[in-house]
């Protein structure tokens, strides 16, 4: 293990090593882009937010404190960049756009490494989850960030993280529609006749109702 730690690289950067920050970018760019993509739901915004995040990290490098892991610090900056981007983007769409300029159409969700129909369905549903909950789900469920670290990233109590993750999953379930082997949420009724087991859910064809 001769690779320097993230924190050591940041320290080297602050001492003037011209390559250290670039190394950190290379280590984290895919993760940060993925995080932004899952939060924002489309590639263009995610790319912009990723760039903003690294530039913000560069500007604030001197304020990094070793109390937190570098990744926690960077995730916090990235989450802020992504939510800022979402706010800006929310304001953007009122001007007339040429729809044939396809790059601008909002959220195709088609930037998944491999476009699996069910992955598209999940990403589409995720985009409908309220942002506050979505961010928590993305961090904890997709990026496997421990609740305690997510609490640092989001600067909220751990209990609030758990609650947001729970509500995010619940909203996601509602957006995905009821799975075939059980009735829709909150609507009492007999179990459906479909015998698909929950374990096979993730690879189901997208036959259930979606919007």
């Amino acid at each position: 293990m001769s690779d320097p730690s993230d924190e050591a690289l940041l320290a080297a950067h602050l001492r003037g090593d011209p390559r250290a920050f670039g190394e950190l970018v290379a280590r984290y760019e895919r993760r940060i882009y993925g995080l932004c993509l899952r939060i924002l739901g489309n590639r263009e915004d995610a790319e912009d937010a990723t760039q903003e995040a690294f530039l913000a990290a560069l500007r604030r490098a001197a304020s990094f404190r070793r109390a937190a892991a570098f990744s926690t610090w960077l995730y916090r900056i990235a989450v802020n960049a992504a939510t800022d981007q979402a706010r800006r983007r929310g304001r953007a769409r009122t001007a007339p756009l040429d729809p044939e300029d396809a790059g601008l159409a909002v959220a195709s969700g088609g930037e998944l490494g491999e476009v699996v129909a069910s992955a598209v369905a999940v990403q589409t549903a995720l985009a409908k989850v309220p942002e506050e909950f979505r961010v928590a789900v993305v961090l904890c469920d997709l990026y496997r960030v421990p609740y305690a670290d997510a609490a640092q990233i989001l600067e909220i109590p751990v209990g609030t993280v758990k609650s947001r993750v729970f509500r995010g999953r619940l909203a996601l379930a509602e957006c995905l529609g009821a799975p075939p082997d059980r009735p829709p949420l909150h609507v009492p009724g007999p179990p459906g006749t479909d015998t698909t087991s929950p374990a096979s859910e993730p690879t189901d064809p997208p036959s259930r109702p979606q919007e």
Partner: protein
């Protein structure tokens, strides 16, 4: 059966929290309450379904774009000033504790006072020209486009044109504003009460041969001299953008043009500030040197 556990309690239960007794209580409730069991089951199912989302690949070109942006931000040439250089000096390793905060420095107070005084002296003069200009550039709405064109005409000739090789986005413009003094000056003077009377852009001249300034840094390598930007063809840009703008943000004030690629398309991009919403910056994308139609796209820069 006691009351249903609330969502916080279910969330804690699902997160594995609680002592044995608390968990046993929730479990007992779930066993006898189909609706709560349903909630917990669908939440668990949603968590499992998330597993189909793999970590996305890095889009082609993003690595280079990030490297260029970081380089432009950090590697300012020595003579430049501005935020990035300030950052470099600080980053060069002086411990925070040894720095004197700006508000403890007498010089800073003096400078601040001088700026205030200067502003107080200048603003009344600028105000007049600002009024003239906003009426010219700002008459809005599709029907008044002709009238606005007349106003935009003279202005377009004085708006700086910046060439950015490669893909341009709102983020590019933001980092440009952070690192490129000329872009920032253009923006500041567009946003200032003096608006288009400001001298920096008057001295820049329009398009022909205007290039990225040195401060652009190594990230954006401007190569050949720019082809003529065709100031005349840029004149309708402001009125076209104004016609497309939300009423609240009108009138728009032009800061500078960018000649670059937007989403893979050769474009002329007008960057504006807003009189209606101070602090707002937008970009308006047109086909290269052709503002005769409405903007292809618009994006808020901030």
């Amino acid at each position: 059966m006691p009351d249903h556990p609330d969502r916080e309690q279910l969330a804690a239960f699902q997160a594995g929290d609680g002592d044995r007794r608390q968990r046993a209580e929730v479990e007992a409730h779930l066993a006898g309450c189909p609706s709560c069991a349903e909630v917990v089951a669908s939440v668990e199912q949603a968590r499992r379904r998330l597993a189909v989302l793999e970590e996305p690949a890095l889009p082609p070109g993003l690595h280079d774009r990030l490297a260029a942006a970081v380089e432009a931000e950090a590697a300012q040439p020595a003579p430049a000033n501005g935020p990035a250089r300030w950052y470099r000096r600080r980053a060069a390793g002086r411990p925070h504790a040894h720095r004197v905060p700006w508000y403890r420095r007498p010089v800073a107070w003096g400078a601040a006072a001088a700026l205030l005084l200067l502003a107080a002296l200048i603003v009344p003069f600028l105000d007049r020209s600002s009024r003239d200009l906003t009426t010219a550039g700002g008459s809005s709405g599709g029907s008044s486009q002709e009238a606005a064109t007349a106003g935009g005409a003279a202005d377009a000739d004085r708006i700086p044109v910046i060439r950015i090789p490669g893909e341009v986005s709102a983020a590019t413009v933001r980092s440009r504003l952070a690192t490129d003094r000329r872009a920032r000056n253009a923006l500041d003077s567009a946003g200032a009460p003096g608006a288009q009377a400001a001298t920096p852009r008057a001295s820049q001249g329009a398009g022909p041969g205007t290039q990225s300034p040195d401060q652009a840094g190594g990230g954006y390598r401007s190569s050949a001299p720019a082809p003529p930007a065709g100031a005349a063809s840029l004149r309708p840009c402001l009125p076209a953008a104004t016609a497309a703008a939300e009423p609240a943000s009108r009138p728009l004030r032009p800061a500078f043009f960018i000649q670059g690629t937007y989403r893979g398309r050769e474009s002329t991009i007008l960057v504006t500030t807003s009189t209606g919403e101070p602090g707002r910056v937008d970009l308006w994308v047109f086909p290269r040197d052709n503002c005769s139609s409405r903007p292809l796209a618009t994006e808020p820069v901030r």
